[in-house]
Symmetry: D3
Subunit: 252 residues, 6 copies
């Protein structure tokens, strides 16, 4: 018989997911996303420029930045701005978030502009990178929606919905959506990003305590898929695409 989870959830149960849109007065799109006690403020800023490598190609760019307030965690972490550099962890996460969001965006439809998705963790209880993808995705959609309303873009530029969740093997059991105490004691830890159609965008699995088998991997992927299905359903309650999903490929 398996051990109970610290918050009493079933192994295949998500934490309470809450997304509050419009929490920032200035941003073109914003969402406060909460997955249990994890709380991330996502804001999207649109700028009429593209990075040098995209100059004069008629395409746009989506990028992400990630930060954590010093006391988002049990113990205070020193402020990255004061130390004068971002940690490897921060850079790894913001690269993952940006790459994931770009995987569903059709760059030729957004014009020569850059969307910067800032994901700032106000409180961390595990799963901040997946929460950032979930909140950042909705905030990005809200920004695109505003650009369409303003007539700045004419075709909906997002090819599919996108959701992310963490899964892991804890005390021998595959579990969905780990909180911090579970995450820090997990034997295996995996972050999964999938589209609304059920295809994979990112899989990052790490054996923290012991190597994992193909069978364990398959259980984790299947748990992750069920979690992401629920997350995307919740996203749709905040924001529905203005048109049905096309079958166009992302770079069409």
């Amino acid at each position: 018989m398996s051990m109970p989870r610290p918050d009493g959830r079933r192994n295949d149960e998500l934490r309470l997911l809450k997304m509050t849109p419009g929490v920032n007065l200035y941003a073109e799109g914003s969402v406060l996303v909460e997955m249990g006690q994890t709380r991330v403020l996502c804001t999207v800023s649109v700028e009429e420029r593209v990075p040098p490598f995209l100059k004069d190609q008629g395409k746009g760019w989506v990028t992400a930045e990630y930060g954590m307030l010093p006391r988002a965690t049990h113990e205070r972490n020193s402020r990255e701005a004061a130390k004068g550099k971002q940690t490897g962890r921060t850079q790894e996460i913001q690269r993952l978030v940006g790459r994931s969001l770009r995987s569903v965006v059709i760059p030729s439809r957004i014009g020569q502009r850059t969307l910067t998705v800032d994901c700032d963790v106000l409180q961390a209880d595990g799963g901040t990178r997946t929460a950032s993808i979930n909140g950042g995705f909705v905030a990005m959609c809200l920004a695109f929606s505003q650009l369409m309303k303003a007539g700045l873009i004419t075709q909906w530029p997002v090819a599919d919905y996108l959701g992310a969740v963490s899964v892991g093997v804890v005390e021998g059991d595959p579990r969905l959506d780990l909180c911090y105490v579970e995450d820090s004691g997990a034997e295996t830890d995996m972050n999964i990003v999938m589209t609304g159609k059920g295809a994979f965008v990112e899989i990052q699995g790490t054996a923290e305590e012991k190597p994992f088998s193909k069978k364990e991997l398959d259980s984790l992927l299947s748990l992750g898929e069920s979690g992401i299905t629920q997350i995307i359903k919740a996203q749709k309650e905040i924001f529905m695409f203005p048109e049905p999903l096309s079958n166009d490929s992302r770079n069409a």
Copy 2:
């Protein structure tokens, strides 16, 4: 006849002030402070160490750090952690906040520990440094209160209440608690920090557009005093000192 203010307030009227305590799960003290559209998350972290210059003196230390989320403002500002340094403005503000808070703390009563007051601006509409002082003060009191409850300190270590507000001359009129559009067009801009007993802790006045007279200065100080009186009243609704104000000096 004077010009109406952008938000219709009287010249001597504060913006809506709201302080929400306990907004962070981990911090020893936390407050979300809102002055109009300005929103600052203040968390206090207690660490059992002191900076080298206080080693073995039986005293503690209070320090502050300040940050602004990239999209706290109308236009996105680049992230200080990504640029690899804090701006002069950031450093100036966090020095002011720390100095102001220390002015009412009795270091010999807090033991050899350091309190770091992090003030992170989620949304900025003028007055972020004074909001940081107001929210940071209450969060600090909550942290001290928790230390007393835990028996780690025995005498209440805060000598007086503390409040801060901005004032300025805008279109020829002295005005209280400037919002961003007022602040950026002010002829003179001043930040005032005062104690509950009505003494000054900091005065920083700058002639942005034209030098100001002693008479203008006196009006501004008097406006500021009335504003701070109201702010301290609001603080007391969140937190009252556990004992009446002593007449001890700060370093007693």
Copy 3:
């Protein structure tokens, strides 16, 4: 009866003020300013460019930088260039000096050029920021005068004289122009910048040891005013404006 000052001055007496112009072979304007043992080398460099935010506006810019030689002080401080960053104190001071100088300059009269006022402290005995403003102001006037002689500017671009001094409450007494030992033990410490016509440009007062009353503030302001009057008189011995003060506002 009040305590004597460390150097025997009256409470309302300035230290010996000396300004030596032309101390640098290359700079468009230069002054070595001494206030007692404090010694600051001020040089002004004119460059035919403006910062990006002033591009194509027909206006110029004045900015200041501040530095302290490692052994300007009792104990050696590590070199900022070697540490790889300027301290918060340095940045705060150079922002103050630049802002003060700009308050009396009419940008439309100086053309699209930038004046950089470098204030380097060779020896520090309190009051380095006010000495920097006093010396920097005269050095800036010398540079403008050279630009006028060269026909590069046609109207005198400085709206008024400018002086600065520190004042403070030490051992209960308001005192003018604090030296280092007074400054480090002051209950209250204030820097005042005023124009030749007696209006305030900057007031920065800090309660170091205990909060100060309105009455103390008024004494300090009045002491400061008398000191600045003498300082501006001394400046005029080095440099007189080529034309009487206009009543034009700075941005005319």
Copy 4:
């Protein structure tokens, strides 16, 4: 019918793998690893200290650093030491290499010492991170072997062999061990790290051009497994464990 690969290999064929041990005169272990045109110099340095978080626990630490010579690539990249910081990509890779190596090391058996595995890319043609893991693993074993010969450690501290390879979907086909032109045009790109017993240590899969299905994932994992089996076979030709694999868990 599928497209031929740029170098004519079959889709399930590794590039020529070559490992040359003992290429550095000073390092406790060293290997020059070549996978096709990719060439990485791996050196292992043993130091008699542990990081602060392991102090007095009787355990050791393994960490990795990664670098790329400026002209390891088609176009010269600027030198990270000259730019003053490591890119996010560099940090991500060195975190992956360190984590992978640690997954098979039994820290209690290596004493209070740190092994730093430096992986410097002399020439890059895709797969530098997996080559770093393969070469770094053998170099680490050589260093441990030297420590055993010197009597500094008494039990063989590596729980299993370790190999890594990249796989990807290119022009619709799953392929093993991508070279640079394949990697940069891949629809999906995945790095896999496995133990000698066939369990997973890391899986990092990214949809570069389009999301991938579970079926594609399974093909990639199976290709990766076959590649890693060959790689570990090649490692054993360079270095065999001094004793048969134990069934002890890593942290026994």
Copy 5:
């Protein structure tokens, strides 16, 4: 009678010198240079741009960068990229290498392009800066030769051959081409760079243990000259100028 050298060489004998051209797949010129156990990888990258100070002058530029792999030395040195800055030693060496190479290049003949000569030390046993000059010179010639073959430059742009060697006084004896143990115990240490015609390009002599006389200096210079003659002979086996040496000055 003088002490034997650690490797048994005569005092006027070079270490084994080996230059392997073409060791990098991408660089326009590359050489692996070995002087005894010292091993430096030199690659030359050609870019179609010049630094700002040469803009629109019809001239090109040659510059050098130097780095040392962390375990190139007996003890591991921390990685400069990780520390975030290059040491003074690194900067001094790369300035010397660049200056030496430029001394024989005719900038008007190379067009508006920049050659960056990267010298990365794989293994260090004394004399890395002179090895860098020797290998960098040949790699540069190979790159120029490729540019001529491609018709991008029309006249051979190198005015003379160039060689470098270290000499020193060790245990009272002048010795040629010091290895590390000799170098670290030398009384005097000198690096000499000369042209094929026997003129000096750089002399850097340092009294490490005791000041040296003119007579010692003359012996060292003469030893150096004989060593450089041999080195240039070895270079010519790798690369001969496509035309006899002109008598044109470098800037003709």
Copy 6:
């Protein structure tokens, strides 16, 4: 017939050399050194600590730092502290100054303390590094003298006098003590450091425009020697060793 020098000096004539001791109120030793228009402020700070590599060896350390005020030169240079790093030139110079001063100091006689010699260039007209050595040497002697008077050291720790000068070939003529316009147009440029007894401590010669012959080298060395003899004579007018020169080696 040779060209006249810009300031009318003979080719073997030094510029006016002036050394003013005691120019800093706090430093243990200080000298303002002027060589023509070049002006360097040298201060020596004594600290009761040694760098880690000298721990518990009963020896002391002498180190130097070099800086240039932004407007020490014809055109303003940006401030190193603001840019966040020291240039390669700065580091090269301060390494030379420190090494030169250490060459005449007997470390076992100065106790476990560090002397930091700060050389800050107030005005530059060529030869700032040699002026720094000349002024730094005298300032260092003044500091040692003060330590002896205080009884902190008992034996005079400086083995010999030390002087430095630049020489160069300009318009075909060897010249002594180059000013800036000569230096920037020199065919060959050399810095020489010698002891009072006439032995060499450093020789750094660079062919700026064309390689130089042994004959030219000999003329330059001989010019340098005559200049340094005069400089050391001038130093002795400021400071004479308290005891005749010993014949002890530096490390006795």
